[in-house]
Symmetry: C2
Subunit: 321 residues, 2 copies
Amino acid sequence: MNENKQRCAIGVDFGGTFVKLARVDEHGVIGARASFATAGLAGVAGWLDAVARHVDTLLADMPADVEWRGIGVGVPGFVDYARGFVHNLTNVPGWSAVPLAEMLTQRFGKTARVDNDVNAMAVGECTYGAGQAYQHAVFITLGTGVGGGLLINKALYRGAYSLAGEIGHVSIDRNGIVSPTGRGGVEQYVGNKRIVERALQALDAGRTSRILEFAGGRREDITPKVISAAAAAGDELAGEIFDFVADCLATMMASVAYLLQPQAFIIGGGIAAAGPVLFDPLRRHLNERLSPYFAERLVIKRAELGNDAGVIGAATLTFLE
Amino acid sequence: MNENKQRCAIGVDFGGTFVKLARVDEHGVIGARASFATAGLAGVAGWLDAVARHVDTLLADMPADVEWRGIGVGVPGFVDYARGFVHNLTNVPGWSAVPLAEMLTQRFGKTARVDNDVNAMAVGECTYGAGQAYQHAVFITLGTGVGGGLLINKALYRGAYSLAGEIGHVSIDRNGIVSPTGRGGVEQYVGNKRIVERALQALDAGRTSRILEFAGGRREDITPKVISAAAAAGDELAGEIFDFVADCLATMMASVAYLLQPQAFIIGGGIAAAGPVLFDPLRRHLNERLSPYFAERLVIKRAELGNDAGVIGAATLTFLE
């Protein structure tokens, strides 16, 4: 290995719908991208073949003075990070008990790392994005579920069995909604589907609102994004829904803050794009729910890497230690 | 310094009622003890004089081949551990903005460490008690309030501003009891006074129960200990109260487990002495509130150092790094 060479890595963001790949350098800058559909691949072997083809393409135009360090993958499910072993993927059939890091190393002869997708995003944000300045930070991603990643002493903390940071299951109500992961988990209140359900229920109950108008009159087109646009335009119901979402998140975040006392919360994922419609009530509720000493010192920031957090973070895993 | 010498330290457990001191060796064994009443001392200076007198006594019969390493203090309030600075003590007047570690070092010419009392206990339990085997563990103490200490990678994690582990403020109900630290904090439900209140309310509402009999017929003598004795004897109301306490704790502990995935919870403090009356429903509720993967791997243990956790832990602080 030439110490003077710039290094790069391939980052793979393995989503339920698309697999995205990028060649990322040590400064977190993307040199080339690719993607392919997750559906229709012939299991793990088919997935590996497709990844290999795209890796070839991504490396083809790599400058000569750059060394390919390895490949990192963020997957949507349960992973043992130390072994790079995929226990199983929630929404991708055929992926259970896969020694993925080992298979990737055999295939490419390079360092390979496999992590949960949210952990990979958290690593990306904390290395190159909104979390760079912090020693201790908590990364939250808002989408279908609520995911989390914990930065402790500048490193991602994975817990005793590689599954720490399951922030979506933190309970906000002892007698709340029952799910397979317990009772009152915050994602049972603020997951994308729950937000839309809440709007539909209010509309069905006869509430006046412009939400349907923002969805072009089509109920099935109501999304959290549509509701946030209505809220930004001053729609009362939409504002109430985001206030509720913010309060549920603030309840969980106050618990996390009392427990871990991070310097910052970094919030990414679709709903984070709502901007002030979410962040203003979030700050207000959090201040109500924390003693001033905790509230005053706590930073709440929006994630900066956006849709690239997954590929950048996955690539970053191969630069660690 | 002679490397072959055994080392010892003075541990000080600064409580609201008593100040307890002990000479503790590097194996966590107590060689001598002392204590004095907290009330009636002339402020910080008076406290320091009293401590110095007792330290002299404790060191007087120290074997010649033992070296006195330093002094550690666990205090009931807010501390900046890195500086050994006491912000303020909740129940001890006159203690605010005290650079206690500095004052102790000046007085004794030795290493001095000052920490929150619960942190000190957690350090003691994780070094010499129930937490020795673990890399990642959460220490909980049940008393007037609910305190916590987080062992992460074999070290106490103190957070960004030295106040992490405030487990008593983790919310179990978004719309729950309001307090200066937020809403629904678990200690608002399971603190000693709350447990007694719950019993009194049920008795006032006409519930048949042997709790009053266990308190010798005196309402004012009803304590969590009395209620646990009644529960152990099969009293239905007392059993219900402990089931409620266990479920509140399980709600908080499930949230903590999903977040940190520790190997173990170690539970100390007065109510922990209730034994199976508390621990049986606690395990049951926790299993209901965690996915099997988390529940199966999680150990729940009673703390082992008992009333000595404070002095042993405080002494241990001086052995660290």
